[in-house]
Amino acid sequence: MFTSFSLAGIEMPDHLERLREEVRAFLRAELEAGSYTREPSGWDRYDAAFSRKVADRGWIGMTWPRQYGGHERTSLERYVVTEELLAAGAPVRAHWLADRQFGPLLLAAGSEDQKRTYLPRIAAGECYVCVGMSEPDSGSDLASIRTKATKVEGGWRVSGRKVWTSYAHRAHLMNLFARTAAFDEKNRHEGVTQLIVDLDWPGITIKPIINLANDHDFNEVLFDDVFVPDDRVIGAVGNGWKQVSGELAHERAGSERWLNAYGVLVHLLDSAGTHPERGSAEKIGRLVTHLWTLHRMSFSLAGLLNQGITPAVEAALVKDLGNQFDQDIPEAARQVLQEEDRARLPEEDRFNDMLDRALLYAPSYPIRGGTREILRGIIARGLGLR
């Protein structure tokens, strides 16, 4: 029988259930103390104080070795914790990339010195990282980047321009992708190097790019002859592409791919009442079946990652379905509660704010982290079509 997808079920051990309860109790207490509220932007909010609280609970760097400030827990445990935080709309954006991607990257490819310098600070919720991949002429075709790092005594001199860099204006470090060797059409994936850059170094200019929701979320980051010491090279010079490819399954499989508009569904259920008419019940029910499906698929993927398997195709496919779900929520919500109903919601009802944000951000989800078309290309390759 055809077994192209390894998304088998996994047991949910009791200690995971207890961990969920622990996270929920923490969130309830924080909510009561007023340290966060459910907001339209959900988990996509920078809040250093909150990140430090999450760190205090041992929920950043959960899977990392203790010697680097980690907690040596399983990726399933990490999955459960992050999923609970995101579903509750807790403001965890500040440490998100450092925890999900940058830390694991350093563990896999970083030097001993880099691990010692950065990982404990990240795990303490005090060091935030952004990713500098995209450029004006390089989006999906990441190998074509032009930001150039030229070898000099003791390090590299970097010049170039990054765009769409989320939260560069709030982060401490950038994981910068730069060309350390000239582009060669035959070996297009070679000659790209990952560098750790302090964003307050001289020669770096960060300019806001305001998005369509009128928010300042991503940036343009200019590098004008910026000196980067040798010890800031991650892994091997020229090996950046390979290093980043290994991380993609982690990047794409998580619940952050389908919990961006979730707050809308929460508020929709409350605003639409306990007895929706048939058409509304169908639309709400459809969303709920998708939520349940995505949770199941992501959780199975976490189980595979936990066993050291990196299912790139399955991860791409979950991200594709998840991105669609983030777009489906506002679409369904605006049909269940239509303009006429929304206009009459009581003042204190947050549904309209939730819907605004979800609808305006909807286009971004199947773009960031690999566009829908690029993901489908990966799936097609996995099926042996390319």
């Binding site: 569904l265 019940a281 639309k283 029910g285 709920v288 079946t289 499906t293 079509l385």
Partner: protein, 363 residues
Amino acid sequence: MSETQKLLTESAGRIFTDLCTRDRVEAAEAGTWPQELWQALADTGLTAAAVSEARHGAGAELPDLCALARVVGYHAAPVPLIETWLAEQMLAAADLQPIDGALAVGPVLRRDTLRLARQNGHWAVTGELKRIPWARNAAAIVLTAEADDGTRTVIVRDTKTIVEDWNYAREPRDTINLDRHRMSEDAVGAPGRGYGRAELFFRGALFRTQEMAGAMERVLELTVAYAKERIQFGRVIGKFQAVQQQIAALASQVAAGSAVAQAAAEANAAGLARFEIAAAKARIGEAVAVVAGVAHQVHAAMGFTHEHALHRSTRRLWAWRDEFGTETEWQAWVGTVAAQLGGEALWPYIVAARKPDLGAPLP
């Protein structure tokens, strides 16, 4: 997959590979009962898979039966296996003896009702039941009937009033018309024992979901193979990006369908898990439009022929998504449950391994 499941699915797979050939499926669709296939399944104990060991069956658990149902769907096997298992489960739940041979169950439509009453000192059932799977081929039809003292399970053996009909897959879906049909005492279960109509409906939906997952896997396999083989403009069509993107979308839907089928099978290891069944049938039913749609687009004219194998799976998907609740009916059911829960209670419910039954009525 457990060891038992491996054994069962492998032995079923072998039988189907040998005996679900194109000619045999076509003959069955033309109305010939596939005796040889049924006999092989009976000989290996698969027809009695749902009968407990104490009652001399194979004693397969619900998740094992689900795994088997997937194989049935993958091979488009033209036999009432899951119907026979359902019937045996109904008999066991009602403390009635197991029955040899192919069995049918009902009512399968929520608006059909069978009434049971005593008349002139014996039991009699009355009602018109439509779309009963495989009724014409069944040694007995196990039905849930409404009596004055509650729901009872009854066994109808000798009905002469079958009107033959078919679903899109040309599987028998017959109408039985029972008019004060006389029942022997041992063909009637005790009141309040056995499945009610809702329980039968949920269980039917669970098995159809599994069959659909199997059929979808077959469709994906056929589609990928065809895309790698058909040449146009000097290259295999799978090299065209437009085709790749469509097949990737199909694959995502198949993966979602497999995942929910698996999830529902697991959830039902410890008692009937209604939410999971409802959500799974809704999700996989919704997936059919893309799965069948893309598969046919990629196969183009060849896939529209009777000759090609594709339609044996896609016609089943079209039929099965409508049986035991369409996707919109189940979506409405899930939506009703969610509305009862309210916003903040939804998440804990979704991720809980065992979900409390909120007792929502059928859609």
